[in-house]
């Protein structure tokens, strides 16, 4: 067992905690994927539901809501950020896997900060759109 792990002396628990580290890494990837799916789902609803509402009010003879066309770009940005989250987190999963094997784990901030900033910008646009668009 020892020759499979050249840097095992760095870890106090060595082999017994190695599996847990990799499983924790895997759970983290899955949490990223869930978050990405939530982002894509919200984006899809925002982009398509705005269109749906516009068509419904047109059919019903109500005046077409102004500003509804903004929902499409906001939705597209949300879906794109979900895609970005999948890409970054999958890269990070393999990077962390390697770092766990080597016993030199570096806690990253880039993926988290990137996704928070993109989501906050899209969220602010969504709020502005909700607050300002005339009913």
């Amino acid at each position: 067992m020892e020759e499979m792990q050249p840097d095992a002396q760095q870890k106090t628990g060595s082999e017994s905690t190695r599996a847990r580290e990799h499983l924790a890494n895997e759970r983290t990837l899955l949490a990223w994927i869930r978050t990405a799916i939530a982002l894509m789902g919200l984006g899809f609803v925002v982009a398509r539901f705005g269109l749906f509402l516009r068509e419904i009010s047109a059919i019903g003879g109500h005046p077409v809501q102004s500003g509804s066309s903004y929902s499409a770009p906001i939705g597209i940005v949300l879906v794109a950020s979900g895609l970005l989250a999948v890409a970054i987190s999958t890269f990070r999963f393999f990077q962390a896997r390697d770092q766990i094997e080597k016993g030199r784990f570096v806690p990253e901030v880039f993926p988290e900060v990137a996704i928070v900033l993109v989501t906050l910008v899209a969220g602010a646009a969504l709020i502005a759109y909700l607050a300002l668009s005339g009913n």
Partner: protein
Amino acid sequence: MSTTSRPIPRGRGGGEGVRIRDHLANVRTFLAWLRAGLVLLAMGYAVAKFQVIESLPNRYLGVLAAVAGWLVIVIAGVSFIRMRRAIEAAEFAPSVTWNLGLSLLTAGAGAAILVYLVRS
């Protein structure tokens, strides 16, 4: 518990494995907060948009929920960075403020929806 001659550089002293798992757990906590904020944003959007005709209060409630979701995402980012530092410095202290705040917020949103459904 560490008996190795090599000093443990960072973390709360359980060794490298514990430090790694602490950081990964921190990322998952951050993502769970982010999802909570996203769901609030989506709920606000749905509430504000679902009324094809009538009712201004709905729109304000929706915008309020969306703003709350946005703030939850800000809290997610800030506490992730702070927790990351605390893990490296072995200064972790459990805080209850934001958790209680989120529960109260969600309970408030649920109560508002309940009142709306019963009265309409």
